[in-house]
């Protein structure tokens, strides 16, 4: 495979945004546990991917004691994210999180203003993608599906995967290798092309 692994080592001093950046766009990378979200974000990000966590009580208080959580009914909500500067004025943020965080403020923050979502799926556990796809549909957030290819995972014809995931005919379905920068970029491009087609259709109705 034409691999772009470890290409473009992050130069020093790119921690900060360019001062000319005026617009920040947001895309989500979602999917079930261990489907490759963190790897995907890491392949694309120009900064070392960052993680934030919130510890929440069952009652859902947004600020809670992070120390001594053992023995308490708490949930840790985590989000990984990365950044791509796309031009002097535009930066794209990729946020990766599992869907079971749906009732948390972090999930609301993440989905608010997002252009769309890329759902990562694993052919060995396709049924585990339904949850997050349903959630995006509830939110009215458009999405494309990218099957993350794992070594040794079964390869099915596209039609079978579409059927198994019950995808709408217009929903893009692509295959990617989350470890590969070029492959992951192509998957994002498929999503954005789809978002663009939808915008054009909406504006001409």
């Amino acid at each position: 495979m034409d691999s772009a692994l470890a290409s473009e080592p992050a130069p020093d001093g790119d921690l900060y945004l360019r001062r000319t950046v005026s617009t920040a766009a947001k895309l989500l990378v979602v999917g079930h546990f261990a489907v490759g979200k963190t790897t995907f974000v890491g392949s694309l990000s120009e900064i070392r991917p960052l993680r934030t966590e919130e510890t929440m009580t069952q009652a859902g208080a947004s600020v809670d004691d992070l120390a001594g959580i053992e023995g308490k009914t708490t949930t840790t909500v985590a989000m990984d994210f990365g950044r791509l500067t796309l031009s002097d004025s535009l930066v794209l943020y990729l946020f990766g999180a599992p869907g079971q965080q749906r009732f948390t403020r972090l999930w609301q923050d993440m989905t608010h203003g997002a252009l769309g979502a890329l759902v990562l799926a694993d052919t060995r556990r396709l049924e585990q993608s339904f949850d997050v796809m349903g959630l995006l549909e509830e939110l009215g957030l458009p999405y494309a599906v990218a099957v993350n290819h794992f070594d040794g995972a079964p390869v099915y014809p596209e039609e079978e995967i579409r059927e198994a995931l019950d995808l709408l005919p217009e929903t893009p379905l692509v295959t990617c290798d989350a470890r590969d920068r070029v492959s992951s970029t192509r998957a994002l491009i498929s999503l954005v092309e789809y978002l663009q087609r939808r915008t054009v259709v909406r504006e001409h109705v």
Binding site: A67, R83, H112
Partner: protein
């Protein structure tokens, strides 16, 4: 109420100590991708250690709310409270993720697409 005993497990101060017990920022204008810029003429004296740490990070250049939380290893909710105070005190200014001239979504999508294609 008895003040909580400070503990330092995991190297973290209890979030509600950092925020003086507040769960919500003084303003509700922070998106995860709101851009934050430091004002260079404000003294850092008198700031709490966390706010000073935040300012020292932000004085290096523009960052988003999510990045500030990530770098400081603080929950986003706590970071927003600190940011709200620092905007109120004039230490920071924010820039909405989408400029006020409200770029149409189609234009943003085109720019995102161009930027991604250029990376191939």
């Amino acid at each position: 109420m008895t003040p909580p005993t400070p503990r330092h497990e995991r190297g973290l101060v209890r979030p509600y100590v950092v925020t003086d017990g507040r769960a919500h920022p003084t303003r509700n204008t922070f998106d995860l991708v709101t851009l934050v810029l430091a004002q260079y003429d404000r003294p850092l004296t008198g700031l709490s250690p966390e706010k000073r740490r935040l300012m020292e990070l932000c004085l290096g250049g523009p960052l988003s709310v999510a990045e500030i939380a990530g770098h400081l290893m603080l929950p986003v909710s706590v970071t927003k409270v600190l940011l709200g105070d620092l905007v109120d005190s004039g230490h920071l200014i924010t820039r909405a993720p989408i400029p006020s001239a409200q770029l149409p979504e189609a234009q943003i999508l085109q720019e995102v697409l161009d930027g991604l294609r250029a990376r191939l």
